[in-house]
């Protein structure tokens, strides 16, 4: 018989506000096996843990039930407490009387009744707990960073700096991401290229870092410390190791009408191209959709002009298999499509542009060489209207936008407005906003400078409609402070489009079994306390794939993700989870049902010799679980028709005991 101690936590008023904790402790004292029961204000605090340790010693406890918050929050804490008191950590059970009880009930009698029931179930389970010992697995000391924007770059540099190998997989031909497309960065207005490109060079020159550009992750297997990843290197029809990046091919290619996605299709490039002068790796890529040689075998100019002999029209996609100990997701963001926002006439007028397009129009390396000219007629715009929150903070019933705030638009719009007024003081600049949100170091000062020093007109109110009228745009809007409807002329309208996670994030999350929220942003393991870890062990989050972020915040998070990776890779062995499946070979009939349902491929079959009562031997096919691969999900235990599969720590017997305790 176990000697169980019950510890009921108040969690301040979180639990004690709706649960009579004293009554719970009293009621559970009467449960079979319980020899001690107490309550305390904060059981997770040092004093609370000491209370548990003292009780273990004093009452010779063999099992512990903590009635507190979700096990996701503090199960690990209390297991450590148990271990410190000399108990097997798996003799601890958590009854979640916070998230699943006090937070969802309003009145004390109901809350208390439910807390007692949950406590009884946990006691019933601990009565059947047995000590478990986790196994160990080795760690591959190399990290994979998916995405080569500023988030991925910073994470890779920090990991490499600690002496570990890192691979960056970037789907575009160059690393750099969105930051490479920006002109200046708020709030200090340093030029994006000046602070980003040296970092890109650092990545290229770092011996610990390999870049797989124009590549994508296609398969992820394994588990923390031991991921097996397949990377598809897309055919770029140029031998990377030979190409010197001289650019001769990009000047001679006769196919000139290829939309230049780096400049958001506002100008054209050749069918063989280097995205921008500072690209890393500085290697040409052929766009197979436009190359005449690849499409119909007629041309071959680039091959003729290439002194290095790097052109290879026969190149195929290549698949590479690598092992990693940790994976960092840094897949970033994109502005949303403006197709559903045609009230702003984005598809009707060339002079309605997005903010990212505006960045390219003001960038010295952009399509206008940094001169702010209207896309329609190349004239200097005299009146510019900026519209904030296009697709951000949308009504839930309005299915076209995002409910969240995209966070960066207020600041970059202030930046655009200020820079325009600075460079072209004759230009009239108006910004329409719902709210101006500029928290952050030196951010609000920056916005106020735009208004007070640079004379940007900020109008509180949304634009309802943009009407193309000859070479003008009529902006129909409301001024909420003056309580007036406005109609103002503009030469250029700039839409601060909401940002959303990159489209590659969703399939990647499936491959990684990492969770996402309804907006396809990756979910962190804990929103406050574990912000850079995914709930999937060994998978970390960096940058805007986790939520909208500006550059300072992205870099901070990238560093934090790197430090978590370094902490993981610094270990030689990882302690596994002992709560894995185990098959009872005497009952297993070798039907393969469990093998089919196992999402991790942890189950194999082997032929085993069995001694029969009459001393003859029988060879039978039975299931065998690889404990290093098993994640303890329990699919096999419910699928097994003969009841041969059981999960350690969650045995069927224990689950039934819990249900009985709840129902009795």
């Amino acid at each position: 018989m176990q000697r169980i101690g019950v510890f009921v936590c108040w969690c301040g008023t979180n639990i004690a506000g709706t649960v009579d904790v004293v009554a719970v402790a009293e009621a559970l004292k009467k449960e079979p096996g319980v020899v001690f029961s107490d309550n305390y204000q904060y059981m997770c605090s040092q004093a609370g843990q000491d209370l548990i340790k003292a009780a273990v010693k004093e009452h010779n406890l063999t099992g512990i039930v903590v009635c507190s918050c979700s096990p996701r929050m503090h199960e690990a804490t209390f297991r450590k407490t148990a271990a410190a008191a000399g108990l097997n950590p798996y003799m601890v059970e958590i009854a979640n009387i916070r998230e699943q009880c006090s937070w969802v009930h309003k009145d004390v009698p109901t809350g208390t009744e439910k807390a007692i029931i949950l406590g009884k179930a946990a006691v019933a389970k601990v009565n059947l707990n047995v000590p478990l010992t986790p196994g160990e697995s080795p760690v591959t000391k190399r990290a994979l960073v998916i995405g080569g924007g500023i988030a991925g770059i910073q994470t890779a540099l920090d990991i490499a700096d600690a002496g570990f190998e890192v691979d960056i997989v970037e789907k575009k031909p160059t690393i750099g991401g969105k930051m490479a497309q920006l002109d200046k960065t708020f709030p200090t207005l340093d030029c994006a290229a000046c602070i980003l490109t040296p970092k890109m060079v650092d990545v290229a020159q770092n011996e610990k870092i390999r870049i797989f550009s124009y590549s994508e992750v296609t398969e992820v297997k394994g588990f923390v410390g031991n991921f097996d990843v397949t990377i598809k290197k897309k055919a770029r029809y140029v031998k990377e190791e030979l190409c010197t990046g001289c650019g001769a091919c990009t000047e001679k290619c006769p196919m000139k009408k290829v939309p230049n996605d780096f400049n958001l299709n506002m100008d054209t490039k050749r069918a063989i191209y280097i995205p921008f002068a500072q690209a890393v790796p500085k290697v040409a890529t052929i766009d197979a959709d436009y190359c005449n040689m690849l499409k119909n075998g007629k041309c071959g100019v680039c091959s003729k002009v290439c002194a290095a002999g790097a052109i290879d029209y026969t190149q195929k996609d290549e698949f590479i298999s690598e092992k990693y100990g940790a994976i960092v997701v840094a897949t970033g963001f994109n502005p949303i499509s403006m197709d559903k926002f045609d009230e702003f006439a984005y598809n009707q007028s060339k002079d309605v542009i997005t903010s990212l397009e505006f960045e390219r129009l003001t960038n010295a390396a952009g399509p206008t060489a940094g001169k702010l000219l209207r896309p329609s007629d190349g004239k200097h715009p005299e009146k510019i209207v900026f519209v904030q929150c296009v697709g951000s903070r949308c009504d839930a019933c309005n299915e076209k936008g995002k409910e969240y705030c995209s966070k960066i638009c207020c600041m970059y719009t202030a930046k655009h407005a200020m820079l325009t007024r600075d460079k072209y003081p004759d230009t009239d600049v108006t910004v329409f906003y719902i709210d101006v949100r500029t928290p952050g170091k030196n951010f609000d000062e920056f916005y106020r400078r735009a208004v007070e020093e640079y004379g940007v007109h900020y109008i509180k109110g949304m634009v309802g409609k943009v009407i193309p009228d000859g070479d003008k745009l009529i902006v129909q809007a409301s001024d909420l402070i003056a309580g007036k409807q406005l109609k103002i002329d503009a030469d250029l309208v700039v839409l601060a489009a909401a940002i959303e996670p990159d489209k590659s994030a969703r399939p990647l999350a499936t491959m990684l079994t990492a969770s996402m929220d309804t907006n396809d942003f990756f979910t962190e393991a804990h929103p406050k306390l574990r912000p850079v870890e995914s709930p999937t062990a060994g998978v970390f989050l960096s940058g805007a794939c986790q939520g909208p972020k500006d550059i300072p915040e992205t870099v901070a998070q990238a560093g934090a993700a790197a430090s978590k990776v370094i902490g993981l890779l610094a270990k030689d062995k990882l302690t596994g989870n002992p709560c894995v499946a185990q098959s009872n070979e005497m009952m297993c009939n070798g039907c393969s049902t469990c093998e089919r349902v196992c999402p991790y491929g942890a189950i194999t079959y082997e032929d085993k010799e069995f001694r029969m009562p009459d001393r003859s031997t029988l060879i039978r096919r039975v299931a065998s679980v690889n404990p290093a691969v098993c994640q303890g999900c329990g699919c096999c235990t419910v699928a097994c028709p003969s009841g041969a599969m059981d999960l350690k720590g969650f045995a069927s017997e224990q689950i039934i005991a819990e249900v009985d305790a709840i129902c009795k």
Partner: protein, 262 residues
């Protein structure tokens, strides 16, 4: 497929074409519209006054009649649709209002159970544009048609839930289904001036002109609408291009239009 049908007063006199062709086209498309018996006016406008119950009772009666026949209700006039749909929404969501209304009613309680389709929704969600394409015998190829939504059809969006009120496409999609070219112009969802015409005709002219000018500038040959009041205001304010009901245009494409003036 059978649906309860509520035409509304205007469709029985000024806007007979809207009603007449709605039924004919529905038959061609495999849907029978059964007119509610002894119906009354929808109530005219959906007043937002808190204590206003009497003007909404007739709408509730229409909705109850459809429920009794276990049919969804189809409307076609934008204004009627707006009133009936908003009333139904209030019956679903405003307990106090529903309580008052039900105390007026002789029979069983009604709590907004009836499903309502505007004629355009019926085509999009029940019949489907593919069926329309299939039944089109006289494709209006080359015709440039401007859809005029007005305000009542789409707003308030939280109740109407028909289409994006700022950037709608439901009429344009139908125009494309019958082979014509949809002209998208900025003022297609602006107000025509509505009942303001009675008090300030100039203001109504100004609003209506902005719409018709905008459509004309975009190259439209004809404007289509589902609202008798919109049609009236546009025509009254001197619109230079014809304004026709959406059902009339559909009838032409489906080959059931009687008038052969064209």
């Amino acid at each position: 497929m059978k649906f309860s049908y509520f035409p509304g007063c205007t469709l029985k006199n000024k806007a007979k074409d809207l009603d007449n062709y709605a039924r004919k086209c529905a038959e061609v498309l495999g849907v029978t519209l059964e007119e509610i018996e002894n119906w009354q006016c929808c109530g005219g406008v959906f007043t937002t006054a808190k204590d206003e119950v009497a003007t909404k009772l007739s709408s509730v009666r229409i909705l109850k009649d459809a429920l009794k026949k276990e049919q969804a209700l189809v409307t076609v006039c934008s204004a009627c649709h707006n009133v009936v749909k908003q009333t139904n929404y209030a019956m679903q969501n405003d307990k106090e209002f529903a309580g008052k209304v039900n105390r007026y009613m002789a029979e069983d309680e009604y709590n907004g159970e009836t499903q309502i389709y505007h004629y355009l929704e019926l085509i999009r969600d029940v019949i489907g544009y593919d069926k329309v394409k299939e039944c089109t015998v006289n494709p209006l190829a080359g015709k440039k048609i401007a859809a005029y939504y007005g305000c009542l059809l789409l707003r308030p969006n939280s109740v109407m839930r028909m289409d994006d009120p700022e950037n709608p496409s439901i009429i344009e999609d139908l125009i494309r289904a019958i082979g014509a070219e949809a002209v998208v112009y900025p003022y297609r969802n602006e107000c025509c001036g509505g009942y303001v015409r009675l008090e300030d005709a100039k203001l109504s002219d100004k609003k209506s002109n902005a719409v018709s000018e905008s459509a004309k500038k975009a190259g439209a040959d004809v404007i289509v609408t589902a609202c008798p009041l919109c049609k009236y205001n546009l025509e009254k304010s001197g619109c230079e291009i014809p304004v026709v009901y959406i059902t009339e245009l559909l009838a032409e494409a489906l080959g059931v239009k009687e008038d052969t003036n064209e």
